[in-house]
């Protein structure tokens, strides 16, 4: 990879990390408020699912949430891999992409389970 291409990809990763952080700050607040509302009301599992299933707006919200998580986590771990583990070479980024894809997969499955 040339120095210029490397600098460009680092810039994109930096931007993606900050943009996903802003999205997550909002999503986490909404998520926790929703959880508190649901659990404080003493709703049963069946009652929760009857309210969430087929709700397109919440389904879309949680898809955005999961995508932001799948972007934010691997980039954060990448910084740690570089600075603390001194992990270099293609296996580092391949492994982190795999972590991002796995998080996206299991996160979207969870979203589908609750809202699909």
């Amino acid at each position: 990879m040339t120095t210029r291409t490397h600098a460009r990809s680092e810039t994109w990763l930096w931007l993606a990390q900050r943009a996903s952080a802003v999205v997550l700050a909002f999503c986490v607040l909404v998520h926790l408020a929703t959880i508190i509302y649901a659990t404080r009301g003493g709703l049963t599992g069946a009652e929760i699912l009857s309210r969430t299933r087929g709700n397109a707006a919440w389904f879309a919200f949680y898809i955005v949430f999961v995508v932001a998580v799948a972007v934010h986590v691997p980039i954060g771990l990448r910084t740690i891999a570089i600075e603390w583990l001194h992990w270099r070479g293609p296996t580092r980024d391949t492994s982190l992409v795999a972590i991002g894809v796995a998080l996206m997969g299991v996160g979207l499955f969870a979203t589908w389970s609750v809202f699909g």
Partner: protein, 115 residues
């Protein structure tokens, strides 16, 4: 904005904030797959109900409080970082903002969860 990576010495005040932000992020990254797995069990209402009853356990509630603390700490550290990079404020203003934001979130959620 400041894209340059800052190398902090343990003697600098921002170092503790940096370490706490990083370690809380790692802890949250380790927790997330289990959280998603638990939610994935919602395909079956009976399994979800069993999971909800399990969370009534005192130790689980303590764990939940720990997670909220981790989340508030990481979010507070992240807001501090965003303020440092994007806002033309003095350093102590940004630290104060992060501490206040994290404390507010923890206090609010602890109250709401009645822990």
């Amino acid at each position: 904005m400041n894209m340059r990576r800052r190398h902090l010495s343990p003697r600098q005040p921002g170092y503790i904030a940096f370490i706490v932000h990083r370690l809380s992020g790692v802890a949250l990254a380790l927790f997330l797959p289990f959280h998603f797995w638990a939610l994935g069990r919602a395909l079956d209402a009976e399994a979800l109900e069993g999971f909800l009853r399990w969370t009534d356990n005192g130790w689980v509630k303590l764990g939940e409080w720990g997670l909220v603390l981790l989340l508030a700490t990481h979010a507070g550290g992240g807001l501090r970082l965003l303020a440092l990079e994007f806002l033309p404020w003095r350093d102590w203003h940004k630290s104060l903002l992060a501490v206040a934001a994290a404390f507010s979130i923890v206090a609010g959620l602890a109250f709401a969860l009645a822990l």
